[in-house]
Assembly symmetry: C2
Homo-oligomer: 267 residues x 2
Amino acid sequence: MPRSITAFSNPLVKRVRALRDKKARRKEGLFLAEGLRILTEAREAGRLPKYLFFTGEGAAHPLAQDLIVRTEAAGGEAIETDRDILSKMSGKDNAQTVVGVYREFRTALTQIDRTASDIWLVAQSLRDPGNLGTLLRTGDAVGAGGVILVDDCADPFSVEAVRASMGALFTQTIAAARWETFLAWLRAGPGELVGTSLNTDADYTQPLGPAPTFIVVGNEQSGLPPEYEAACDRLVKIPMLGKADSLNAAVATAVMAYEVLRQRRGG
Amino acid sequence: MPRSITAFSNPLVKRVRALRDKKARRKEGLFLAEGLRILTEAREAGRLPKYLFFTGEGAAHPLAQDLIVRTEAAGGEAIETDRDILSKMSGKDNAQTVVGVYREFRTALTQIDRTASDIWLVAQSLRDPGNLGTLLRTGDAVGAGGVILVDDCADPFSVEAVRASMGALFTQTIAAARWETFLAWLRAGPGELVGTSLNTDADYTQPLGPAPTFIVVGNEQSGLPPEYEAACDRLVKIPMLGKADSLNAAVATAVMAYEVLRQRRGG
């Protein structure tokens, strides 16, 4: 039986609200996701919230009902509240009618079975949480095994990244490592490391090597460091016909990932 | 000879700060762009600011010097100020060292020469300014003629859109029209209207019709309305192998635009 919270001063509301801050997420091992679509995506990926907040209006939806029942059956807590409190927790004026608090999850690099997919995305010092979320969403769409975060990336569990991922955060394997550790792991098995770069004439549509393909994208401002580029098996160039000579990092990764998919499909 | 502004209460600072609001932009016919990279992109595209603000530090850069000289030569005003005031104007804690105020520009649909490019991007009710900026950036990269905004889209002159465009706003032709007006214009000349959709089995890599290709992307939440889809010459599907079954709107457009480019290059 769901309990109800109506006071802004409720300690749990404060705790949840604090999860917008990275330090609080790390300390609690919890993060926030909002909206019926994303929470349903999470459920379908086998993840249920520790706390599920909903408005009376939100609970009327059959998918929300299902979430409430399953959350409680799995030992989580379903809590009725109001829209103002949901807004306070999520930091959005126009809050969703359901908000979930989930346990953070990460996979150790050594636990990854790289043969589980033909495509893996690797982000190096990607700083924008929106870009990281979009990358996760693209990873899901191309059937990537997951996203490996190298060096200092944005936090995939930040509210902005979760939102931009549209739930793909829950479907993608997420690992994190320093470059040296990643490279050592990579070289201990099959796979081609492909970097998109302006420092090559090799077109990105040229035939790739055998799967799995690891597509690595660098920092939004500076791209991949030269020594990282040198460690790639293949650098490829996405043609730039304009004046600005650059693509958004998540867009460039998506264009490359769909080219991998096109080649694997025999296109 | 640049004048100097050091007071937050300066009326021009207040006017510029107000440009973060759409109503003020429309009333003044002006908008804000930040950072040496974007302002230099604008200059290369032939656009100089009405007001150029810079810090003493910022002015030390040769590209900033060049901007100051050209802005003044073109009748604009170059104004030295400090970082706190730039932050106040741009609404960012960590402000750039140069900020420009530009005159808004739009091209009437009837003024567009569609044969100037093989690719045109069409956004219908795209609401996120970051997505719109990314779309402009992609348009520049694929050599698109411009972006046509149909129905109620985000404002391309908003701070977020300008930022996400990384200067491509200045290189791309921008027109706006209601759907019926756009469609009438489109049908009065050559060109294939291609929509990406989940409601078709036609793969996006199938051979396209003759140029120019108009790639239309719909609203982030709801996609293109069914009657708009019905008006397309071709609906194509970008494969979705994951659980979430969707791509970011700007990403989907980029994947399609690069496929057009690949086919035109004979790939």
